[in-house]
Symmetry: C2
Subunit: 343 residues, 2 copies
């Protein structure tokens, strides 16, 4: 028995993965991209296959008290598809393994599968493997997504170069604020079950957390516009954390303009209500499932014409560090205040 | 809200999967084999890729009280590789997603990964994706295995034909008896923690449950001997249940000879000690990870020469049903007394 005990929290999620996989050896010549990106890439006889695998656990990633099962089924699929799109690849297949507690009925699972199939239909993906098992520990969802990409056309986190523009799709922070609304309504309900939740006016924010949409449209548009991002990642944890992933993997620094970060009006209003900065929600909130990517300067005009894409900063030398320029004109070191599952 | 409530136990594991996936539609022309076999097969630009995804949950699939983490890491990988071999395919890659409770230390996870890497090294497989998350609900392990197979050379559960011979590799029932020994020692230990477990003489049985080996060697031998099984499945639940899967998928019946079922001497002795039939352990025990397959009559002589393969029966018309001929000369209907996770 080893007598040392190192707490997982001392490494954090990303430190932990790095620690455990640093001695990972490659046996297969077809392994093109391994642990450390949104998805892995393997060469299948000259064509390339992109694979991603995520777990969603009850009590960690979702709360069944306010998550309709159909939405959960949809979300479990699309968050995995988002990883495939973040490689500039096209998802084609998923497998789904479930751990199911006894409290579930067949009808409840039917609802969950309705959501799974809705996502499969929308994104033209086949469910090809189903495994179910009982669980003593809440609902456990494991989805593996498989996609395809033309040879060497996948985009990793590691290709950002000095002076590249930092772009992000859609808007950020809304999913986090939607979650805060749901958590508030839950507390109110638990204190007084007679009070019905009033979320009618917050459809946008609630929709962002319960039913995220992966940005297949952005990948398609980039391909049509003949723009190859130099790096790409999906925003699952928060803008800060994702941008730092790109900077670390690409060995560069960055300047991020707070005022350029796209925030939806509804998000801005609710952020004010909760007395938190809207930019903080974007930087550290997570679950937006937008695409964060870098492009060469020469692609600026093309990108600027797309209303669904914001240019929010640029890549610098590593020695300059990763910095946020606030609306007030101050310069702050960007920190990964994103989700640390073990803290 | 739906007002009907159907208990999952009323469908059973296999009934549940069938119920939930019966309306599963195919969008991708490349989907060759979907839900319902050991693994799925997709066509990747003319070459074929085999995919399987399994969950292992603490308290359901393993008990950390008597499962060393290194063994668990090894087993989590090989039970998935076993699904790939059961398609007569060769595993090449795995992804691993973990849900980790706070009680785990980094050192504990290092032990687990040692087992994962040992399996990867032994079977020449690359770990290409790592996802970790915290878990409120014990240790959650999800492995996806990916393999390759020459075009249309994969073997499903559905090709068994009347008069084909039923074959099984290795021996059966030992894993179940190993588990009974561990459970007994656990009870004794919990009643009196001073008593140390005495399992020195039971290395074979304990090894079968804690460190199963997938039958890569059998797949290789079949390929070298130029034998193409007409159907194949791995024995994860129990011989009865697996043979019934083949009969149902192939639309045939079978005769299984009790006296031909291979049982290890150690298993026979311990079965006697526990006062259970050794054949019952083989039929209903599970977790042996041997390969059950059918071959044409003309392959009999080749198969008979391999000491690691037993011919245990033959395939009949469906109308004759699936039957067990006991050593005493009685004929019993084969029932899927295998594992039902929801009962």
């Amino acid at each position: 028995m080893d007598t040392t005990r190192t707490e997982i929290a001392s490494l954090g999620e990303f430190g932990l993965i790095e620690h455990l996989t640093k001695n990972n050896e490659t046996h297969q010549a077809g392994t093109l991209l391994s642990v450390g990106d949104d998805a892995a890439v393997i060469d299948q006889f000259g064509r390339q296959c992109v694979i991603s695998n995520d777990l969603l656990l009850e009590g960690i990633h979702f709360d069944l008290m306010y998550t309709p099962l159909k939405h959960l089924g949809y979300k479990a699929v699309v968050v995995n598809l988002s990883d495939i799109y973040a490689m500039m690849a096209t998802p084609t297949h998923i497998t789904l393994a479930l751990g199911i507690s006894n409290k579930f009925s067949v009808e409840a699972l039917e609802e969950f599968y309705e959501g799974v199939y809705a996502a499969c239909d929308k994104f033209n993906v086949d469910l090809i493997g189903g495994d179910t098992s009982s669980s003593k520990a809440g609902f456990v969802i494991s989805v593996t997504a498989i996609g395809e990409v033309a040879p060497d056309k996948y985009v990793t986190r590691s290709g950002a170069k000095v002076n590249d523009l930092i772009c992000v799709s859609g808007d950020l922070g809304a999913a986090y604020l939607g979650l805060q609304l749901l958590e508030r309504e839950k507390r109110i309900f638990l204190e007084n079950p007679q009070i019905q939740p009033d979320l009618e006016n917050q459809k946008y924010l609630i929709g962002r957390i319960l039913k995220p949409e992966p940005r297949a449209d952005i990948v398609e548009w980039l391909q049509e516009a003949n723009i190859t991002p130099t790096s790409m990642i999906d925003v699952s944890d928060g803008l800060s954390s994702e941008l730092l992933h790109i900077c670390t993997a690409s060995d560069v620094g960055c300047i991020l303009y707070e005022e350029k970060i796209p925030v939806h009006d509804d998000a801005r209003k609710v952020a004010m209500e909760f007395q938190i900065g809207a930019a903080a929600c974007a930087l550290s909130g997570g679950e937006d499932y937008e695409l964060l990517f870098t492009v060469k300067q020469e692609d600026y005009e093309k990108v600027a014409r797309n209303n669904n894409i914001s240019v929010i900063g640029y890549i610098t030398e590593k020695s300059e560090g990763a910095n946020l320029l606030t609306t007030g004109g101050n310069k702050h070191k960007l920190t990964s205040a994103g989700w640390n599952a073990f803290s």
